[in-house]
Amino acid sequence: MYPQVLFQNRKPNRIATIDEYRQSGGYKALTMAIQKYSPKEVQQIVIDANLQGRGGAGFPAGLKWKSVADNFPFPRYIISNIDEYEPGTFKDRVMTHTDPHMIIEGMILSGYAVSAEAGIIFVRPSYENSAVILERELKIAREAGYLGRNILGSHFSFYLIVHRSGGRYICGEGTAQINAIMGKRAHPVQSPIRSTEKGLWDKPTVLNNMETLVNVPHIVRHGAEWFKNLAKTKTSSGTKLYCVSGKVNRPGCFELPMGTRLSEIIDEYAGGMLSGHEFKTCLPGGASTLYLPKKYYDVEMDFDSVKKVGNRLGTGAIIVFDQRTCLVAATLNLIEFFVRESCGWCTPCREALPFIRDLLWRIEAGEGKEEFIPILRRMSQHTWKSYCAFAPGATMPVTSLLDHFQEEVHEHINQKKCPFKA
């Protein structure tokens, strides 16, 4: 068992209380920061710790904070979310049900680091219970003096609210999320000005993944070196909340050192493959990553190592497929999801994804032709011209199906049926 940092207060079927969080050192980082460190110093500690954004891009959180320049206007905002619509991803939900005050302290500290006045936690409707938990615990944190005016007797004031979403995948895109919070239709913005300069209500706004922020209190308390040493690989730092789902014995969310090997995560923590099922492939970081060929079963799961094998760590949500699952059908399911969740605003996404869906549907139904394969590739290329990263992400399962499982696609075409169906 590796040291548990984010899940140190995890209990079966119970949420840690503020007292339990405090007994484990909770809110000490906030006290330290306010008494000892300037906002700039907090930024520097987080930069030194190399805290990479856990939402998928891996951009260093401290550098993002630093991009809010001194002369940028006020008020400034912090946004985080418990929205994770990425299929396979449920870490934020587990985190909320484990230790909500770690989320709250992480947000207050990030607010302090960029001199923000308010923070917003954006919550999807299927996580209504998370919204209720957070609202209840926010009230407790306010009463304890950690939130509101003059926090812990300092000059720093910070307010934190829960914003309920109506439920759409695209709200996970930064500019779309800002639009959603402002009560506008959640379309991404084409070539936006950086939100750290002009975001919510045209004011500097920092968006961080929730998992990124829960690391901040620990970094402030224990230092950058300690945080870096938590990881297994040199280029990464900290621990990671890996979600494992699919054909494994114990699907779940596990806190492990960043860079833990995929094989170890699946075999030891997720209990290995279901009896009679063999590992065929996985999506290593949610639906908008690529099918990982079996030869990389030992890959170290951090941003750089997964990139080196031509894939993406994404959210670290590992969806495991077995030898009996048809990958054409799986990709059809994934693209169906993306077609439905596309906001429809820009043409490459709105038009190319349904086109791809129809071709895949025909292949799966036994009506495929060889000439579909280059069309699928060409259509996938077109999506890179869309406004946001949604559509290119949507085509990652498609292009990796063609790259790594082309034989399976050919079998469908040649046999004029799905070989997995009797």
């Binding site: 939900r93 299927s126 309920r164 699907p251 999801f337």
Partner: protein, 164 residues
Amino acid sequence: MLPRELLEILQKRIASVEHPRELAVDTMLASQNHYGYLSDEALEEAARLLDMTPLELEELATFYDFIYREPVGRFVIHVCDGVVCWMNGYDSVLDYLLRKLGIKPGETTEDGLFTILPTACIGYCDLSPAMLINGRAYGPLTPEKIDDILNRLRAEPPKPRMAR
């Protein structure tokens, strides 16, 4: 019309923020929670509260999966059709539910109790195949579990409404 008590709560909240439309989704959800779904009249009423045009609010209402612009049953069953649930038997779960309730996706049972809506990944991949009913998640689903859940919901008394 919304009951006075609820109306006052909403008006107070809206008055407390700088930009009323940031509460658009909250207001629609509150109205929907009261009426059961967001009818044309409910949408217009919510738009007036938010100082938005009905069209502006409609743009949002039709965008979101969990705002119901058509009547739904007392229990809205969102069956997850995300890739993990699909892999773990979504088809048979949906098929079983449809046969059991005698409806098609998007329809409501004659007694007004259940509506079935296939839904994008609900974030319960560790409990797949999963579904969400009135905000509560259930899984991993089996026919026996589904029977048990439906029976328990049928026996649940309707929730009391605020006085008008």
